[in-house]
Symmetry: C2
């Protein structure tokens, strides 16, 4: 009997227990031994009818000191207790798997380094893309490639809101309210709508594939709160949709990384990824482009990724070598050097046309015009912003 | 220095050598040691200017008996020499990785069993979906799931032809000719257009996820040679496209498996996968649905998957436990028990309407009508086929 512990009995934690219970038979066939949750750490009271009630404990040290426990799933979230516990567990030679993107994005470098030193795993498949397999494919299946670029719809809540705005012509506030009513958005939706969640995820992906830490605070991040129905109309005029896109691209040893709403041509792979789904497009020098698509959040999908990591640890009781190091301070390019084509809404087109190469003009509302630039650097864009109503990058 | 051998210097074999040459630096960083192709087995003459010219050999035993070689890529295709060589290599305790779907589909059970016994790997990521990561994600990332169903566009050539027929209104013969001119289809296109290639691939996927051998000759297989412009018009009338779909579904310990052209609603994930791309949708009991999308063939994408398997063997020098066993003879359900909704073209609708539940009627050409059935079994369908012009399953 293999025994594991789960830290946190919230949505993901209860999902992890449920997957292990529900799929007990097939898991035991895969592992050659049955697997069971021995402890669930949570401070809240759990109803005695709950199937895991007998396993609930408030005593972290019981888990830390139990030699039967070799794998722990940290699904409590946050970067304080979770950080402290994870560190102690790794130091004690236990594998830790997690869905905690905040912790991986902020403390991953240190935690991976401890894991390596102790020859255990710190795995985080569930931290990006919910249940979509992405971390392991990047590490294993695409290992033969030099990855040039990762582009993804990494946050389901904002994708749901944007989908509503396009399909039903809702404004942002209405669409957000619906997302909250459906439980897709938090009461305080900032982490989603301001792009913070997507920023953590692209930081994790970029750190993993480029091997050096991409710090969140260096990622240019724009959320979707400013998107209006007029922006939607512009996108439609360009036969496009708007998606919140996290992207990281390596060029000449520097990574260009951003999270921002982007205008995406219909018919391209990410444009059709709607509702709460996530999609991640990876560009490698041998494979070309591959896309991973699926439920980016949700109890069981996320739990499915956590349990896959647990299985990996139980099957391969040693370090997986996921690893990145601290980066030199200029590894992440200053965002003024980011580049792309932009849609610029303006009431003063002449001022912009004389400074920037323009590929296309679109007219949607009276009194302003949309200019689509050729590829420029953000520095060039910034110079004309005084003449712009707003702008959005194309993809 | 890690040394590997490549059997076969065709498209994929030269791609494998190219990826190992081109990405030498990043591969050596990942492996902690440099990796080099030591032998390339081929009977054809290779120009002395070829970068691998010095490594070409006709002597298989040199590879078999070289203790420096722990991993061999079999990319020669076919099931005769490839079978013999693979067996000898595995018996000799060498890992074998392959893109050879014919061999995996027909001899996989035996070869995996030898690999297990010898504690080496027989890996075949490249055998399905070209460069798209699918085998390893099914085994590792989705390990927490009980997989219910796999549905895929598994053959790029037929997908290219069908895309042409829809986009440009070409008939089958014209579209095939174009595919041949572009090098996407062989001079003898039977393996692709008759569904044989897709059949091998769905057989491999089904065997892997359900753990028991699904033999190709038990898979109901219909190719695309019979698809006409009228069929295309029917699909369009149903706001759908036609795709050659391989599907395997587990229900009550039996697998229902087929390869056939299917009418797929636009806006669903597989409908937008066009040209030579492949897409594979996996349904698991925790994850729900995930889709893997990318180049299903081609020199470098396929080589990328082969080299990923090589890296896996070099990183983890022991059996990966990919495995399936012989199945009981009724594991694959008789195709008369396959089920679904069907579009039936008929000149005698009354005869069919009185026998089958009909959900929708569509009219495209004079003198016949298209009936869309509710879900029925193929046995029920077969009874009305005397009254049908043709039929196609919906998806």
């Amino acid at each position: 009997m293999l025994k594991v512990a789960v830290l946190g009995y919230g949505v993901v934690g209860s999902g992890v227990c449920e997957v292990i219970r529900t799929n007990a038979k097939s898991l035991s066939e895969k592992l050659g031994d049955s697997v069971e949750v021995k402890y669930v750490l949570d401070i809240k009271e759990v109803d005695s009818s709950d199937p895991e009630a007998a396993k609930i404990t408030k005593d972290f040290s019981a888990i830390l000191n139990d030699p039967e426990i070799s794998v722990v799933a940290e699904v409590m979230g946050g970067a304080t207790f979770a950080y402290d516990y994870t560190k102690q567990l790794l130091m004690a030679g236990k594998h830790v798997v997690t869905s905690n993107k905040e912790l991986v994005a902020t403390k991953g470098t240190e935690l991976l380094s401890i894991a390596k030193e102790k020859n255990v795993n710190y795995l985080f498949e569930a931290s990006v893309g919910g249940g979509i397999p992405i971390i392991r494919p990047l590490y294993s299946c695409l290992a033969a490639n030099e990855i040039n670029r990762i582009t993804g719809i990494l946050n389901g809540t904002t994708n749901y809101i944007l989908t509503k705005m396009f399909r039903e012509g809702s404004d942002f506030a209405t669409a957000l309210k619906e997302a909250q009513e459906k439980g897709y958005a938090e009461r305080n939706p900032s982490a989603d709508v301001d792009g913070i969640d997507a920023c953590r995820k692209i930081a994790i992906l970029a750190s993993l594939v480029f091997g050096k830490e991409v710090e969140c605070n260096k990622v240019k991040t724009i959320g979707i709160t400013g998107i209006t129905e007029t922006d939607v109309a512009y996108a439609e005029k360009l036969d496009s949709v708007i998606k919140l896109i996290g992207q990281a691209e390596l060029k000449e040893q520097k990574v260009y990384v951003s999270v921002e709403p982007r205008v995406i041509k219909k018919g391209t792979p990410l444009a059709s990824i709607d509702d709460v789904f996530n999609g991640i497009m990876v560009n490698g020098n041998a494979i070309g482009e591959v896309v991973f698509y699926g439920p980016g959040a949700g109890k069981l999908p996320t739990a499915s990724a956590v349990v896959a990591d647990i299985i990996d640890c139980l099957r391969n009781d040693r370090n997986r070598e996921y690893f990145w190091t601290k980066a030199e301070s200029d590894f992440v390019a200053d965002s003024k050097n980011n580049f792309g084509c932009y849609l610029i809404r303006t009431k003063n087109p002449e001022e912009i046309i004389k400074k920037l190469p323009i590929a296309e003009k679109v007219s949607v509302v009276d009194g302003e015009i949309g200019l689509v630039t050729e590829q420029i650097r953000e520095e060039e864009l910034n110079e004309v912003l005084p003449y712009a109503v707003s702008y959005m990058k194309l993809a």
